[in-house]
Protein backbone atom coordinates (compact mmCIF):
# COMPACT_ATOMS: atom_id res chain seq x y z
CA UNK A 1 0.00 0.00 0.00
CA UNK A 2 2.65 2.51 1.00
CA UNK A 3 4.71 1.62 -2.08
CA UNK A 4 1.78 2.37 -4.39
CA UNK A 5 1.10 5.60 -2.53
CA UNK A 6 4.78 6.54 -2.79
CA UNK A 7 4.70 5.90 -6.51
CA UNK A 8 1.73 8.23 -6.88
CA UNK A 9 3.39 10.90 -4.75
CA UNK A 10 6.53 10.73 -6.86
CA UNK A 11 4.47 10.91 -10.04
CA UNK A 12 2.48 13.99 -8.99
CA UNK A 13 5.53 15.80 -7.66
CA UNK A 14 7.52 15.07 -10.80
CA UNK A 15 4.66 16.18 -13.07
CA UNK A 16 4.30 19.40 -11.10
CA UNK A 17 8.02 20.09 -11.38
CA UNK A 18 7.93 19.48 -15.13
CA UNK A 19 5.01 21.89 -15.47
CA UNK A 20 7.02 24.52 -13.58
CA UNK A 21 9.86 23.99 -16.03
CA UNK A 22 7.45 24.42 -18.94
CA UNK A 23 6.25 27.70 -17.39
CA UNK A 24 9.79 29.01 -17.19
CA UNK A 25 10.47 27.89 -20.76
CA UNK A 26 7.34 29.67 -21.95
CA UNK A 27 8.26 32.83 -20.09
CA UNK A 28 11.63 32.87 -21.81
CA UNK A 29 10.38 31.95 -25.24
CA UNK A 30 7.08 33.76 -25.82
CA UNK A 31 7.24 37.21 -27.38
CA UNK A 32 5.26 39.71 -25.26
CA UNK A 33 3.74 40.23 -21.79
CA UNK A 34 0.26 39.03 -22.67
CA UNK A 35 1.30 35.72 -24.18
CA UNK A 36 3.79 35.19 -21.34
CA UNK A 37 0.97 35.73 -18.92
CA UNK A 38 -0.89 32.83 -20.55
CA UNK A 39 1.97 30.52 -19.61
CA UNK A 40 2.43 31.94 -16.12
CA UNK A 41 -1.21 31.93 -15.06
CA UNK A 42 -2.01 28.40 -16.24
CA UNK A 43 0.91 26.01 -16.07
CA UNK A 44 2.29 27.45 -12.83
CA UNK A 45 -1.07 27.01 -11.13
CA UNK A 46 -1.47 23.38 -12.10
CA UNK A 47 2.17 22.63 -11.32
CA UNK A 48 2.07 23.96 -7.79
CA UNK A 49 -1.32 22.34 -7.22
CA UNK A 50 0.08 18.95 -8.17
CA UNK A 51 3.13 19.39 -5.94
CA UNK A 52 0.94 20.39 -3.00
CA UNK A 53 -1.34 17.41 -3.67
CA UNK A 54 1.68 15.13 -3.49
CA UNK A 55 2.72 16.73 -0.21
CA UNK A 56 -0.80 16.26 1.15
CA UNK A 57 -0.72 12.57 0.29
CA UNK A 58 2.72 12.20 1.83
CA UNK A 59 1.76 13.96 5.06
CA UNK A 60 -1.29 11.70 5.29
CA UNK A 61 0.80 8.61 4.67
CA UNK A 62 3.53 9.68 7.09
CA UNK A 63 1.63 10.94 10.10
CA UNK A 64 -1.79 9.42 9.54
CA UNK A 65 -3.58 12.72 10.05
CA UNK A 66 -5.17 14.84 7.38
CA UNK A 67 -3.43 18.21 7.04
CA UNK A 68 -6.17 20.59 5.98
CA UNK A 69 -3.76 23.52 5.81
CA UNK A 70 -2.35 22.14 2.57
CA UNK A 71 -5.86 21.87 1.17
CA UNK A 72 -6.35 25.53 2.11
CA UNK A 73 -3.14 26.39 0.26
CA UNK A 74 -4.32 24.55 -2.86
CA UNK A 75 -7.68 26.35 -2.78
CA UNK A 76 -6.00 29.71 -2.22
CA UNK A 77 -3.62 29.32 -5.16
CA UNK A 78 -6.43 27.99 -7.34
CA UNK A 79 -8.51 31.09 -6.67
CA UNK A 80 -5.88 33.82 -6.71
CA UNK A 81 -3.71 32.84 -9.65
CA UNK A 82 -6.17 33.83 -12.43
CA UNK A 83 -6.92 37.05 -10.56
CA UNK A 84 -3.22 37.89 -10.39
CA UNK A 85 -2.81 37.20 -14.11
CA UNK A 86 -5.75 39.44 -14.97
CA UNK A 87 -4.44 42.26 -12.75
CA UNK A 88 -0.95 42.18 -14.28
CA UNK A 89 -2.20 42.14 -17.84
CA UNK A 90 -4.62 44.99 -17.17
CA UNK A 91 -1.86 47.04 -15.56
CA UNK A 92 0.37 46.29 -18.55
CA UNK A 93 -2.29 47.38 -21.01
CA UNK A 94 -3.09 50.57 -19.11
CA UNK A 95 0.55 51.49 -18.70
CA UNK A 96 0.98 51.27 -22.44
CA UNK A 97 2.84 48.04 -23.18
CA UNK A 98 2.50 47.32 -26.89
CA UNK A 99 1.12 44.08 -28.25
CA UNK A 100 3.46 41.81 -30.18
CA UNK A 101 4.08 42.78 -33.82
CA UNK A 102 2.23 39.76 -35.23
CA UNK A 103 -0.96 40.47 -33.29
CA UNK A 104 -3.90 40.71 -35.61
CA UNK A 105 -6.73 42.33 -33.70
CA UNK A 106 -7.25 44.83 -30.88
CA UNK A 107 -10.87 45.51 -30.03
CA UNK A 108 -10.01 47.21 -26.76
CA UNK A 109 -8.10 50.06 -28.43
CA UNK A 110 -11.01 50.50 -30.85
CA UNK A 111 -13.51 50.71 -28.00
CA UNK A 112 -11.32 53.05 -25.98
CA UNK A 113 -11.07 55.48 -28.88
CA UNK A 114 -14.85 55.83 -29.17
Amino acid sequence: MTEILKFFIGLTVLTGALLSLVTAFGLIRLPDVYTRNHAASKSATLGVMLVLLGTLLYAYQDTGSFHSRLLLGIAFIFMTSPVAGHLISRAAYNSGVKLWGNSVRDDLAKHRKK
Binding site: L14, A24, V33, R69, L87, I88, A92, N94
Partner: protein
Protein backbone atom coordinates in the same frame (compact mmCIF):
# COMPACT_ATOMS: atom_id res chain seq x y z
CA UNK B 1 14.19 5.52 -5.45
CA UNK B 2 11.66 7.86 -3.89
CA UNK B 3 14.42 10.20 -2.71
CA UNK B 4 15.97 10.24 -6.17
CA UNK B 5 12.65 11.29 -7.73
CA UNK B 6 12.36 14.08 -5.17
CA UNK B 7 15.91 15.18 -5.91
CA UNK B 8 15.19 15.29 -9.64
CA UNK B 9 12.05 17.35 -9.01
CA UNK B 10 14.00 19.81 -6.87
CA UNK B 11 16.62 20.11 -9.58
CA UNK B 12 13.98 20.73 -12.25
CA UNK B 13 12.29 23.43 -10.21
CA UNK B 14 15.61 25.13 -9.50
CA UNK B 15 16.30 25.12 -13.23
CA UNK B 16 12.90 26.72 -13.82
CA UNK B 17 13.70 29.38 -11.22
CA UNK B 18 16.97 30.16 -12.96
CA UNK B 19 15.05 30.71 -16.19
CA UNK B 20 12.61 32.98 -14.39
CA UNK B 21 15.50 34.97 -12.89
CA UNK B 22 16.81 35.48 -16.42
CA UNK B 23 13.41 36.96 -17.32
CA UNK B 24 13.42 39.17 -14.20
CA UNK B 25 16.82 40.62 -15.08
CA UNK B 26 16.33 40.98 -18.80
CA UNK B 27 12.56 41.59 -19.20
CA UNK B 28 12.08 44.55 -21.52
CA UNK B 29 9.19 46.07 -19.55
CA UNK B 30 8.25 46.19 -15.88
CA UNK B 31 5.09 44.01 -16.27
CA UNK B 32 7.34 41.26 -17.66
CA UNK B 33 9.37 41.36 -14.48
CA UNK B 34 6.25 41.30 -12.31
CA UNK B 35 4.93 38.21 -14.13
CA UNK B 36 8.27 36.48 -13.59
CA UNK B 37 8.37 37.48 -9.92
CA UNK B 38 4.88 36.08 -9.39
CA UNK B 39 5.91 32.78 -10.96
CA UNK B 40 9.05 32.81 -8.77
CA UNK B 41 6.91 33.08 -5.65
CA UNK B 42 4.74 30.19 -6.77
CA UNK B 43 7.81 28.05 -7.52
CA UNK B 44 9.14 28.88 -4.07
CA UNK B 45 5.96 27.36 -2.65
CA UNK B 46 6.57 24.13 -4.51
CA UNK B 47 10.22 24.02 -3.40
CA UNK B 48 9.16 24.34 0.22
CA UNK B 49 6.59 21.57 -0.24
CA UNK B 50 9.18 19.21 -1.70
CA UNK B 51 11.72 20.06 1.01
CA UNK B 52 9.15 19.31 3.68
CA UNK B 53 8.60 15.88 2.10
CA UNK B 54 12.35 15.41 1.97
CA UNK B 55 12.91 16.25 5.64
CA UNK B 56 9.84 14.22 6.70
CA UNK B 57 8.41 17.15 8.65
CA UNK B 58 5.11 18.99 8.70
CA UNK B 59 6.48 22.12 10.34
CA UNK B 60 6.82 24.00 7.06
CA UNK B 61 3.21 23.67 6.01
CA UNK B 62 2.32 27.06 7.49
CA UNK B 63 5.08 28.68 5.49
CA UNK B 64 3.46 27.42 2.28
CA UNK B 65 0.28 29.36 2.99
CA UNK B 66 2.28 32.40 4.08
CA UNK B 67 4.38 32.58 0.93
CA UNK B 68 1.36 32.00 -1.29
CA UNK B 69 -0.44 34.92 0.32
CA UNK B 70 2.65 37.16 0.18
CA UNK B 71 3.21 36.43 -3.52
CA UNK B 72 -0.40 37.30 -4.32
CA UNK B 73 -0.34 40.52 -2.27
CA UNK B 74 2.94 41.53 -3.87
CA UNK B 75 1.52 41.03 -7.34
CA UNK B 76 -1.60 43.03 -6.52
CA UNK B 77 0.46 45.88 -5.07
CA UNK B 78 2.77 45.95 -8.08
CA UNK B 79 -0.06 46.01 -10.59
CA UNK B 80 -1.86 48.75 -8.71
CA UNK B 81 1.30 50.80 -8.58
CA UNK B 82 1.88 50.33 -12.30
CA UNK B 83 -1.66 51.36 -13.12
CA UNK B 84 -2.25 54.32 -10.84
CA UNK B 85 1.13 55.32 -9.43
CA UNK B 86 0.00 54.75 -5.84
CA UNK B 87 -0.70 51.61 -3.83
CA UNK B 88 -3.09 52.93 -1.20
CA UNK B 89 -5.47 55.58 -2.43
CA UNK B 90 -7.50 57.90 -0.24
CA UNK B 91 -10.42 58.14 -2.63
CA UNK B 92 -12.46 54.97 -2.19
CA UNK B 93 -14.82 55.59 -5.09
CA UNK B 94 -12.46 55.59 -8.04
Amino acid sequence: MFEIVLMISLFIISLAMLGLIYRVIKGPTIPDRVVALDALGINLVSIIAIVSIFLKTTAFLDIILLIGILAFIGTVAFSKYLEKGVIMERDRNS
